[in-house]
Amino acid sequence: MIAGLALVIGLVVGLVLRPTVPHGLEPYLPIAVVAALDAVFGGIRARLDGIFDSKVFVVSFVSNVVVAALIVFLGDKLGVGGQLSTAVVVVLGIRIFGNAAAIRRHVFRA
């Protein structure tokens, strides 16, 4: 509940403040967002499964973001940044879908 509230607050703050993305972070922010979304969906699923753990959530959230950004950073350095970010988005997208399916089974029993 707090998490949902915080998400809304963050959205509102982002919309109100209208910050500009620092140039150095521009390639990483979308990947980080997708990675964080993956962590959040995983957290919701764990919560519904009754196995939610705050620490796991926090650690996985942070590590997801960091690893995703790191992969993209490395890809940029290697000259395959575009492809690697596509790969990361695909993998994270698949997992989000899987988690969403699990959540759906919990919520709708179907």
Partner: protein, 297 residues
Amino acid sequence: MTDRSDDPTPAADDAVGSAEPSLDDFALRESAGDAAERVVAGQSRAEDGASGAVEGDGAPAPGAKAARRLRPVHVRAGALIGVLTALLGFAIAVQVRSNSSSDSLSNAREDDLIRILDDQNARADRLNRQIADLQNTLDELQRSGNSDAVAQQQAQRELESLQLLLGTVPASGPGVTVEISDPQRKLKAEDLLDVVEELRGAGAESIQFGPVRVTTATSFVDAGDGVHVDGQALNAPYRVLAIGEPKTLDTALNIPGGVAATARNAGGDAQVVEQQQVDITARSTVPSPKYAAPAGR
């Protein structure tokens, strides 16, 4: 979400489905570490999270105690989660906004930018080629327009000179006026024709004989009452205007045995006056050809 689960079951890593054992192991380790941390935090070993569920409802008192003790941790974890999700929301908002802003190039990555630049360069090349083509066409059209204008000017000049030579328009320029008197009426048509021919030979460009414009078709005919020039009866004195080099015309008329001499022999006279400005106003009409047409062109 903020409530720590009492269930000691290792929390499945959110990232991976619980079916994967290795990740479950990881989660297990995480839980174990969690527990260890709490031990370090100075909490009693027995009631700790990992064993809490095993004892479960059977030992409510220690469980409640543990929950009370864990409260600051709960709050901290909840706050952390809140901060993280707030950050996520913030990031989503920022990213969506920056992505939908008009200046989409600023978020594009390097290879995309290079591709866009290549596209733009190719487009610029194409447009430049198009510009060059159009420029060429424009030049061509302008040239043809110019040559048209030149041809028109040429035709205009030609027309004017032909009009002058044919005597269809008034003419003016340097030349001579000739007064031929013939008191004894001895000058014949051929003598007057000699005047014209002499003037032509000297390069006269336009000639007016009396009131008649002299052209290629002008006729001189002897008649009882004088001389008919183009059917018009003329009598002495004859006044002739000619446009050409005044000096040459004067000389041509006054050469020994020439026009002036003939007139004098006939008892008359020929007065030639050089003038800087001779105005020939008489005009001839040119019949339009009935049978002939320009050939070749």
